[in-house]
Subunit: 211 residues, 2 copies
């Protein structure tokens, strides 16, 4: 049985996106900084690449360590679980070949027909998070369900459904934006550190959520 | 010239102490969890030790990696810079032999005579943070000035005075408490990752503050 894993890039001060995000600017002001490690090679001065420039997986240019992390992110995932915000600001930029190549389940209140683009399918689940998790688990088989964002992971944590977190901690203080962990959670949750990868421009730490 | 370094333990969700802290319970409810790595040996089931049980340095029991981190914390420091809260809740528990063994400068509004305990001196600086930094630099010589807490480091960051941060990231979500970074900062600050130590029960990441 696969695990339900949150994989997300976070600034050292806890933000997963900058302020004033919109469909056009899904990472918010300054938030693209959090994805630099995916696109920049160590020591090179590539211009910052925005997540909105992704077309399939071809655009991921990275050093070896971070490329391996990205490869494992996709290889280990049998289905993605996505909030509406992630989907909405991705749908345009992903183009005809979204990088997922597995079934994606979008938790939303808006009914919509299943969408197939390249090797990726998007299923819009309107009967709640738990239903979306069930569908994603069935689709993922032995592989993991991977999620991102902040609303969905917080709900999963609250419900005791999240198994692991892979946090890519980026050496920057954004000062403001969308926090991953919200004070509204007010819950003590013990974690177990599974692995640490000291990569160029980012630290990837994998945690098990203890229940 | 030594550097001005923040060294502090932080929960993954950004807290350096739990809620409802007081002079009697300086780490707040559940906050002692953040210092477990200093006191517990890997794989042993020592009862949790509270910072309030520290008597000199003899009580630091730890695995080799974390013991080395603690040793380096003290060895590299020529003077400590401390907020009033840190001092107030430490004064009693530290007893006659505080673990610092170098000059400590306490930023406070309350005048008080210089205090000497064992090899540690406490100087109470009432004319502001910048004055305290100057005094501490003079005392530290070639070694670092080390600070902790959250108010003082935030003021140092805002003023562009902080050189490095050594964050000991503890695998726990406290859910509430005293945050290290406050939304009130609202400032984008770039960091450079200097080193990562994957230690039992904690990840020590050292950052340079870019100016």
């Amino acid at each position: 049985m696969g695990k339900l894993v949150l994989a997300v890039s976070m600034s050292l001060d806890g933000f997963i996106a900058g302020p004033n995000h919109s469909v056009e600017n899904g990472m918010g002001e300054g938030g693209d900084r959090l994805h630099d490690w995916m696109f920049q090679s160590e020591g090179t001065a590539l211009p910052n690449r925005s997540a909105s420039e992704i077309d399939g997986r071809q655009s991921f240019k990275s050093d070896t360590i971070n490329a391996d992390v990205m490869q494992d992110y996709f290889d280990s995932t049998g289905a993605f679980l996505m909030g509406r915000r992630w989907f909405d600001h991705g749908e345009g930029p992903w183009g005809k070949n979204p990088p997922f190549n597995v079934p994606v389940f979008v938790v939303t209140h808006r009914k919509r027909e299943k969408l197939v683009k390249g090797k990726t399918s998007f299923t819009f689940v309107t009967d709640g998070l738990q239903a979306a998790v069930r569908e994603a688990k069935a689709a993922a088989g032995e592989k993991n369900i991977t999620t991102g964002g902040s609303d969905i992971p917080r709900q999963l944590l609250q419900a005791g459904l999240l198994d692991e977190m892979l946090l890519s901690i980026v050496p920057v203080l954004l000062g403001r934006g969308i926090p991953l962990f919200d004070k509204a959670m007010r819950k003590h949750i013990e974690l177990e550190k599974i692995s640490v990868i000291d990569a160029p421009g980012v630290t990837h730490i994998r945690y098990k959520v203890l229940k």
